[in-house]
């Protein structure tokens, strides 16, 4: 099954290798991984999407939790979280399809963030499925390059991490 694992950890060299090593040694392919700074200074938050056996992933989570620089690692339930992904798509715009493309851009709530002559860069934000749909629609045009950030996620309300800190 597919899981979204969230990790709050110290922002220090080597954390990425340590974290990803626990997945790779079991032969799991990380589908996406995003990491960045948080509201806490010196701390980073990872969101990792990975598919694998539930029991084995729970074991991985426990091993992540054991790492010296990991403060908290947990498996996020999709219904209890807000999940987003961000994507950039570079298209070459054909003059005859320009109007149609603008309609698609409006429909999927994408934005034009750069236009250098006939080459535009669009941005799309949303749940993974919404970004997938946008990609499907843009696939009918001349896509030159694209990139997705991978999923980031935060639990709704007071998260378990915050409860842990209060308790």
């Amino acid at each position: 099954m597919r899981h979204t694992i969230s990790i709050l950890c110290d922002d220090t060299p080597g954390v990425m290798t340590r974290v990803s090593g626990l997945f790779s040694r079991r032969g799991f392919n990380i589908e996406s991984l995003s990491v960045g700074h948080t509201e806490l200074s010196g701390k980073s938050r990872f969101t990792i999407v990975v598919a694998g056996d539930d029991a084995v992933l729970e074991q991985v989570r426990k091993q992540l939790q054991k790492m010296v620089h990991v403060i908290k690692a947990w498996d996020i339930k999709p219904l209890e979280a807000v999940e987003r992904e961000h994507a950039l798509i570079k298209l070459e715009v054909e003059e005859r399809k320009r109007a149609e493309l603008l309609e698609v851009i409006t429909a999927v709530q994408a934005r034009i963030v750069d236009s250098s002559g006939p080459v535009w860069i669009l941005e799309v934000t949303g749940e993974t499925s919404a970004v997938d749909s946008a990609f499907n629609l843009f696939a009918h045009y001349r896509v030159l390059e694209s990139i997705r950030t991978g999923k980031i996620a935060l639990e709704r309300g007071h998260s378990r991490m915050m409860k842990g800190q209060r308790g």
Binding site: G14, V70, I71
Partner: protein
């Protein structure tokens, strides 16, 4: 280069002295010479090994035999990679170690410089934690934290990689603020509710059993476990790592469980209704095929590492924490009991299935029997192979920290260096390494270390001119095709030992066993006794089927 009143190397040595370190096992090289230069001015003893793997195993043997954290030191590149097997070994058996490696200077890191290797990258999966020190002023803090991590919670090896220019750079010590380890906070106190529930479960059990792992002796909980077992009259079986976790001669002790376990022990674990497993990973060597392991039992799993709970075997009732406190509390909640029926059942199985090894001639069981009669309370260290299982079965030990073996990794070559480390930590005890001919040859150069450093260990080489465990597996599962398991007869182990300045004795007849052992034990020198075994005898019992109760004995 910056100026100050202390170099990185000096700060490192001062930090080690502040930890109370009395000995370092190591090997110098270009990238750690500034540390060696400081070592010459330090009261810390240095044992110069002959191969860095030996340094890691010595530090490991020292740690397991004393409970203190062992320290080893190597240079960059090949020095560091030679530590790898020793670190993996310590990691698998949760042995507290701090390994210090030299690294090329910071400006050269990543340039494929001479003797450069990414040792922190290499050792991530086999250390509890590791550090690449970037600034000399970090060293006092890093050393303190490394020792804290190595020795606390579930112990393990920690590596500190120190670039050569960091060792040389001067700085002025100041009270720098370092972030706290928010992510590391081992649970020591067992949950009182869980302990109460465990007591109720054990109280209601008809056929309870204790499985003692190495975590029991590491937690200093041997006595607590014995008192609990005696009070509640619960039979005890042990893993290989847990052999010294319960007195082997105790009437409640049924011996080793698992693939090479005693029939009574494996029967007990298969028939028990409640199992108290303490300080054990319940690893595959102990459980046999998981689908048939302990099917009747509800398992109370006591371990300091929450990641071990239900990893291999589902725990009915987990208790995370330090075994000693948990066992003392648990014993307090248990009423005294007598379990005559259950004990009689297991004693009957034990009587029907005695060990069947040959107690005459030049055989491993006979050598161990004669040795047992000569030494009171020796510290036994084994290598890896058939002799290891023979020692687990035929050499009862009754005192704490009296049996050291490479359990998880199964590292051939562990025995001799680990025994040297154990002897350094226990100069007053008789330390005996039991080795096979294959495993002894893997690290035999450390005889030279023992001689040069005057560390009188006795190594027994059980020579059957073959790789015994490999042969046994080929006998059982590969149609007796003994591919690549015979060694030829070209090594004379006694003369090999003598060439390095140790006492070497060769035994070829039963009548020579005892005199040779006496001579080696009394010599006060490092000694190697080669026993030319009558035959390459297999070690039984051995589980061959789909459960611990399908075995050859």
């Amino acid at each position: 280069m910056r100026k100050g009143n202390v170099t990185g190397a000096k700060a490192l040595l001062k930090a080690l002295e502040a930890q109370g370190i009395e000995v370092i096992f190591g090997y110098p090289g270009g990238a750690n010479l500034p540390i060696y230069d400081e070592l010459s001015r330090s009261p810390i003893r240095h044992v110069l090994v002959r191969h860095e793997q030996g340094a890691a195993h010595m530090a490991d043997g020292y740690a397991r035999s004393t409970g203190k954290t062992g320290v080893c030191l190597a240079t960059s590149g090949p020095g560091a990679t030679n530590l790898v097997t020793g670190l993996a070994n310590a990691f698998m058996d949760s042995s507290p170690l701090v390994a210090i490696t030299g690294q090329v200077s910071r400006a050269m890191i990543g340039n494929d410089a001479f003797q450069e290797v990414d040792i922190t990258g290499i050792t991530i999966p086999i250390t509890k934690h590791n550090y690449l020190v970037q600034e000399p002023w970090e060293l006092p803090h890093v050393v303190e934290e490394a020792f804290y991590l190595a020795g606390s919670g579930r112990p393990g090896p920690v590596l500190i990689d120190v670039p050569r220019d960091v060792q040389q750079e001067e700085f002025s010590p100041h009270q720098a603020k370092f972030p706290q380890l928010e992510g590391y906070n081992p649970t020591l106190e067992g949950h009182p509710g869980q302990i109460k529930r465990a007591a109720a479960l054990l109280k209601g059990a008809q056929q309870p059993l204790i499985v003692a792992g190495g975590g029991v002796y590491q937690a200093g909980a041997v006595q607590a476990l014995r008192l609990l077992a005696e009070k509640a009259d619960i039979p005890v079986i042990h893993t290989l790592m847990g052999k010294a976790s319960f007195p082997n001669s105790h009437p409640l002790c049924l011996g080793l469980l698992g693939y090479h376990g005693r029939v009574a022990a494996n029967t007990a674990v298969s028939e028990a209704d409640v199992i108290l497993a303490v300080g054990t990973r319940l690893a595959d060597r102990s459980t046999g095929p998981l689908g048939t392991f302990a099917r009747q039992a509800r398992i109370i799993h006591v371990d300091i590492d929450p990641a071990e709970i239900s990893k291999n075997v589902p725990a009915f009732l987990p208790i995370v924490g330090d075994a000693k406190g948990i066992l003392i509390q648990l014993a307090g909640l248990l009423p005294p009991a007598k379990r005559a029926g259950w004990r009689a059942r297991l004693e009957e199985v034990a009587a029907a299935h005695p060990l069947r090894g040959k107690l005459k001639g030049v055989s491993i069981p006979n050598i161990l029997r004669l040795l047992r009669g000569l030494v009171d309370d020796p510290l036994m260290v084994t290598d890896v192979g058939r002799h290891q299982i023979f020692t687990a079965h035929y050499f009862p030990v009754d005192s704490e920290r009296s049996f050291i073996s490479s359990g998880g990794l199964g590292t051939m070559g562990f025995g001799l260096p680990a025994a040297i480390g154990a002897k350094v930590g226990n100069p007053g005890r008789t330390v005996v390494a039991v080795c096979g001919d294959g495993s002894f040859l893997m690290t035999c150069q450390e005889v030279a270390t023992a001689v040069a450093e005057n560390i009188p260990v006795v190594a027994l080489v059980m020579n059957d001119y073959c790789l015994g465990m490999v042969k046994q597996l080929q006998d059982s599962f590969y149609g007796k095709r003994h591919e690549s398991c015979r060694f030829g007869r070209n090594v004379d182990y006694a003369r090999l030992a003598e060439s390095m300045g140790a006492l070497g004795v060769r035994v070829t007849a039963e009548g020579e066993i005892e005199p040779a052992l006496r001579e080696a034990l009394a010599s006060g020198r490092p000694a190697v006794v080669e026993f030319v075994l009558d035959e390459p005898a297999n070690v039984y019992p051995m589980v061959t089927g789909a459960s611990l109760l399908e075995y050859v004995e």
